[in-house]
């Protein structure tokens, strides 16, 4: 019999909330996590606002040993370890100091670039001829797989422990990698997710590309405007999201809470052909990715109740809607929303944070409202009915939800979640 994969735990460190309860509350209320960053002003950024999770030193100290805290300067690791550990605990899985690892549990935890602040520290020391002063942890704080390594050691996972990277698709891709490993019978449980560092060295290159909004430095919460006619570019963010995927039988056997089932999904690339480029998606590939995700999930496109889009608040939001419409071929379009109006674009962390947001909606029967979208882009209202872009949070059951993420390099990921009826 074909294996089924379910979600039994989640954790989130987002710019607008940390932890599932606060995050749900923020989603329902449309709370913004975008703030003015003095550092970006001092550094003469055009866009001086960003999404950065608010975490106290005390909170961080709950997740790291005093030794790990010494010289810890990798925000992605901090966000990822908090989200990953929370997801593990939320799934009611134990963290034990046992001798043998848990051979059935693995990790796929992605990132785009890790430990940039630590790397900067290292660069200054090396350039000053003080390489020997780097200390022992610069390697693990700056290697991309540092995040899966920190989590792997903390949780004692003995299955595959790895880090994936595919720009802003990373988080959703990590989920599908974990899903496939369980389907293949190679693991019973996979902690999947992604994290993204904060700060000027991560956000600066995007500012240089002039794709961030420059006119909202005085009113940060209005800056990120997915699907709006006045969308002016994406607001850079950071954070982490994590989900525990589990073999259905194993989850049932231990009486775990089941948030939703992962029916399937697809990752592909437009090959930077046919309108696709390093920075733009080939629409044909996006349509194909959606169609195949629906097909492999064994559902019909008509069954999708809601979509959580990639929708970054650039001029290309309309095109994403058009691609969904082409792929689904439906009379009535599903509800669609974007988290980025509240959090900004959390880059490599966006996919996993948005998967958590998607699954929370299914678990708690609501569809969060799109913020900063009072002026829906006419390109979009020409394609779909305005009511399908809720501006206020709706109380509604969501049985099947489709989630998309797209990234630089012309890479795409679409996953289909289903509510499990007991």
């Amino acid at each position: 019999m074909k294996k089924r994969v379910v979600i039994t735990g989640m954790g989130v460190v987002a710019p607008n909330a940390v932890g599932l309860d606060d995050f749900e509350d923020a989603l329902r209320k449309g709370t913004s996590g975008i703030r003015f960053e003095e550092e970006l002003q001092r550094l003469k950024f055009s866009c001086q606002i960003a999404g950065k999770p608010q975490i106290s030193e005390e909170k961080i100290a709950e997740y790291f040993t005093p030794l790990q805290l010494r010289g810890l300067n990798s925000s992605g690791i901090i966000y990822g370890v908090i989200a990953g550990t929370d997801a593990w605990k939320d799934a009611k899985l134990k963290i034990e100091e046992n001798e043998a690892p848990d051979w059935n549990s693995g990790i796929v935890f992605g990132t785009g670039i890790l430990g940039v602040d630590k790397f900067r520290e290292g660069i200054y020391l090396i350039d000053a001829g003080k390489t020997r002063r780097l200390g022992s942890t610069t390697v693990m704080q700056t290697m991309a797989s540092g995040i899966s390594a920190y989590l792997g050691g903390k949780l004692g996972c003995g299955n595959q422990v790895t880090t994936n990277s595919s720009a802003c698709t990373t988080g959703t891709e990590a989920l599908l990698m974990g899903f496939e490993r369980i389907i293949a019978g190679k693991a019973k449980r996979m902690l999947v997710g992604s994290c993204s560092d904060h700060g000027p060295y991560v956000w600066g290159p995007f500012d240089a590309m002039r794709i961030l909004p420059a006119k909202y430095n005085e009113n940060p919460s209005e800056a990120s405007r997915p699907m709006s006619a006045s969308a002016a570019g994406f607001v850079p963010g950071s954070g982490a999201g994590a989900l525990v995927l589990e073999d259905y039988e194993s989850a049932k056997a231990r009486g775990a809470k089941i948030y939703a089932e992962v029916l399937g999904g697809v990752v592909n690339s437009g090959g930077q052909r046919g309108g696709g480029s390093m920075t733009a998606a080939n629409s044909e590939a996006v349509v194909k990715c959606i169609e195949e995700a629906v097909h492999f999930s064994g559902i019909s496109a008509d069954e999708i109740d809601a979509i959580n889009g990639h929708l970054t608040a650039t001029t290309r939001d309309g095109l994403e809607i058009e691609n969904w419409k082409k792929a689904l071929k439906r009379e009535d379009f599903p509800y669609i929303n974007s988290l980025k109006g509240m959090t900004g674009h959390c880059l490599a962390a966006s996919g996993s944070i948005e998967c958590v947001a998607s699954v929370l909606q299914m678990d708690k029967n609501f569809i969060f409202g799109n913020v900063n979208c009072e002026d829906l882009n006419p390109e979009i209202s020409d394609l779909i009915s305005e009511e399908k872009v809720p501006r206020e949070t709706l109380k509604k059951p969501v049985k099947i939800l489709a989630k998309s993420s797209f990234g630089f390099g012309d890479v795409n990921a679409v996953v289909i979640f289903k509510k499990v009826m007991e």
Partner: protein, 84 residues
């Protein structure tokens, strides 16, 4: 600097890196960083950096290799302080 002060300083420095806390109870010149305190070998370089900062000395790679016990560390510190 008195021997006892140096040993106390080493104990304070090595405490956060110590995985076997019982090893700290009978802390002496004979205490072995790896065997008795179970300091992760990768962390030995961090212990050295902390010692350098505390005593304002520099411990080269050759001296570090001979630093297996607390007594070895004390001897190296005393030698560096004398030549400073």
């Amino acid at each position: 600097m008195k021997e006892k002060d140096i040993l106390d300083a080493i104990k304070k420095i090595v405490t956060p890196y110590t995985q076997r806390k019982e090893g700290l109870e009978n802390f002496s010149k004979e205490t072995d960083f790896i065997k008795d305190l179970e300091v992760n070998s990768a962390n030995l370089v961090d212990v050295i950096l902390d010692v350098e900062d505390k005593f304002d000395i520099e411990i080269d790679n050759d001296s570090m290799e001979g630093m297996l016990t607390v007594g070895d560390a004390k001897n190296i510190i005393e030698r560096k302080l004398a030549s400073a």
